[in-house]
Amino acid sequence: MEGLGINLPSLIAQLFNFGLLLVLLYAFAYKPIIKMLDQRSARIRESMEQTEHIKRQAEQAEKETARLISEASKEGQKIVDQAVQIGEETKQKAKQDAKIEAERLITKAKLEIERERDDAIAELRSAFADLTILAAGKVIDRSLDKEQHRQLIDKVLEESKLLDVN
């Protein structure tokens, strides 16, 4: 033992040194570093989880967007179809209206024309009667009683009208 150098004071000193180092390292190395390592790994795990979460969210959002787009597209198609239909209807209606209007105008014009013609005929007839009276007066050289005369002509014309109609 003596030759090896074992002695109690040195042993106690080395035990004390070890204890001292243990305490110092615990305070200055193990505790803060392990805390930091744990903190860092927790942080990394957290951020990885977060990334995963965000990725999932993004995927969901993408799916949702796709769904919305397809829905909107369908909706749009429907609206366009509706619009086309309405347009068609409107066109048809306009056509109808135009046709009706045209017919109305034509009828009106026809009536007008008829009225014009009747007026013209009446005028012509009156002028013709006057002319006939004048001519007849000239021919028979006698002046008929104007009133008598007119009656006569009217009678003739009435007959002729009947003839006309027939």
Binding site: E2, L4, S10, L11, Q14, N17, F18, I33, I34
Partner: protein
């Protein structure tokens, strides 16, 4: 990329010059050392090149007394080790950030390596419990070993009452230090065992259950089974005693493994430096660096393994 001409990153002329210098140093080292003196006794070299013969001694020298307490050179060196480790970790952990600086990364990786080592062997729960002791053993032993490898650290001598003494000496080579570590390792292993298993921890040392049961059988008259039971019971007791003895023997094996390796390494280096002062001892420094690491790893690793065994319950009797 064109391949560079030359040897080991130097151009040929530089490599040749370096080679010649190394060769000269090697030759001088051979001639100046003890080997050269034996072989070529007629060559005399200047006095500053000849190396005095080493006188290794096992007990550490007392440098001074502090309040009547002898302070040896190994105690002084262990204080330096403590101071060094404290400084390394103090500056490494003074200003810790989640995104570490380079220096912080270094100290963190050392601690992280040791923590991983503990957790790998003993699991996360117990590994963290054992960590402080195991890591302190590792760091203390390896730093002691490497500090005593600083070239020339053993040449600083001091006048004491008992004559010349080295001021610094590798702590691992003073048997009191390995013994102290072994005692600490032993005490903590037993403490963890008792704390984890309670009184059941002693089951593996005092194993008389089968013996007692066999004696009962003997009184009941079941001789055949009683005799075989007595035999196995006696064996159990013997194995328990062996367990207990091996537990005690660990202290000695721990002590002398570290002490022997480190003292042997120290003497090897002294001898190599004596035989050939320059250059030739260099590979042995590399070897001793490695040995220091391995011894630190073995001491802390064995403590860890023994602690892990101690907290594992012994095979219960119900299994038989």
């Amino acid at each position: 990329m064109a391949k560079k001409k030359g040897c080991l990153g130097c151009s040929f002329p530089v490599a040749i010059v370096i080679g010649i210098i190394l060769l000269t140093v090697g030759v001088i080292s051979l001639l100046g050392g003890a080997l050269g003196k034996e072989l070529f006794s007629n060559i005399s070299l200047p006095a500053w090149l000849s190396v005095p013969s080493p006188e290794p001694e096992l007990p550490a020298s007392v440098i001074f007394h502090l309040f009547g307490f002898p302070i040896t050179n190994t105690i002084i060196t262990s204080w330096i080790t403590i101071l060094f480790l404290l400084m390394v970790f103090y500056f490494g952990t003074r200003n810790m950030k989640l995104i570490p600086s380079r220096y912080q990364t270094i100290v963190e990786s050392v601690i992280g390596y040791l923590l991983g080592f503990c957790e790998d062997i003993a699991g996360v729960k117990y590994g963290r419990k054992f960590f402080a002791i195991v890591a302190t053993i590792f760091l203390f032993v390896i730093t002691n070993a490497w500090i005593s490898l600083i070239p020339g650290i053993g040449t600083i001598t001091i006048h004491t009452i008992e004559g010349h003494a080295e001021l610094f000496r590798g702590v691992n080579t003073d048997i009191n230090f390995p013994l102290a570590l072994a005692l600490i390792s032993f005490v903590f292993v037993e403490y963890w065992g008792i704390k984890t298993l309670g009184l059941g921890y002693f089951k593996k040392f005092i194993n008389i259950r089968r013996f007692v049961a066999s004696i009962k059988l003997l009184f009941r008259g079941q001789f055949k089974s009683a005799i075989s039971g007595l035999f196995y019971g006696a064996m159990d007791i013997f194995i328990g005693l062996l367990e207990a003895l091996s537990e005690i023997m660990r202290i000695i094996s721990f002590t002398f493994r570290l002490f022997g390796n480190m003292t042997g390494g120290e003497i090897l280096l002294l001898m190599m430096l004596f035989l050939a002062p320059f250059l030739l001892a260099l590979p042995f420094y590399g070897l001793e660096l490695f040995v220091g690491f391995i011894q630190a790893l073995i001491f802390s690793g064995l403590t860890l393994v023994f602690a892990n065994i101690a907290i594992t319950p012994a095979h219960s009797e119900e299994e038989h």
